[in-house]
Amino acid sequence: MFSASVDSTFVHKMWDEQELSKMVTGGIPFPMISDAAGNLGRVYGVYDENAGVDIRGRFIIDPDGVVQAMEVMTPPVGRNLDETIRQVQAFQHVRKTKGAEVTPSGWHPGDPVLKPGPDLVGNVWKVWKPRK
């Protein structure tokens, strides 16, 4: 886990010590990256040239270094960490089964998975019921 903003590492230190450590025991456990020049944000498509900041962008990168998911949001709305964790768990499941099992929408660990193949065409309704 890495976080990144255009703030300097000194500001990261102060923010962690002065505020975040009051919300998270022991302070932020992962490295807080300084993207002072916006070089990372530019290549990841999240640097706002006018505002000079990295907007909210979240990338799930698998063990091969492949981007499996991204979510980009304007600043005023916060993210949902539960959804991010759900997506990581789903991607991990798919990877573990080498793609033989895929996860339908809203899937959580333990829920039924889908096994793509000729027999499943038109028959998803038999094996997977959406909640509500």
Binding site: A4, P31, S34, A36, V43, Y44
Partner: protein, 83 residues
């Protein structure tokens, strides 16, 4: 992650393999490169090396050092902002 020495310069991250001009160097003025977004789902995440603060220390992180692990990379507008 080795601890980095702390100076007055403001270090920043860079994409591995990208040409960069050092701040303060009298590099000839070049037309600013149009930044190319290299990220798409299913494609390789651009490798980068960047300074970081981690548990009381100033370090440097490189994305490719994390190969073999799942990585969550989160950008946000700024420290001490509200959301």
């Amino acid at each position: 992650m080795a601890e980095e020495s702390v100076g007055c310069a403001r270090p920043t991250g860079s994409v591995v393999g990208a040409s960069s001009t050092r701040p303060g160097s009298a590099a000839p003025e070049q037309p600013k490169e149009v930044s190319v977004v290299q990220v798409r789902v299913g494609g390789k995440a651009p490798d980068f090396q960047a300074p970081a603060y981690h548990q009381g220390k100033f370090t440097s992180v490189k994305l490719s050092d994390q190969l073999g692990k799942w990585v969550l990379l989160c950008f946000y507008p700024g420290d001490f902002t509200f959301v």
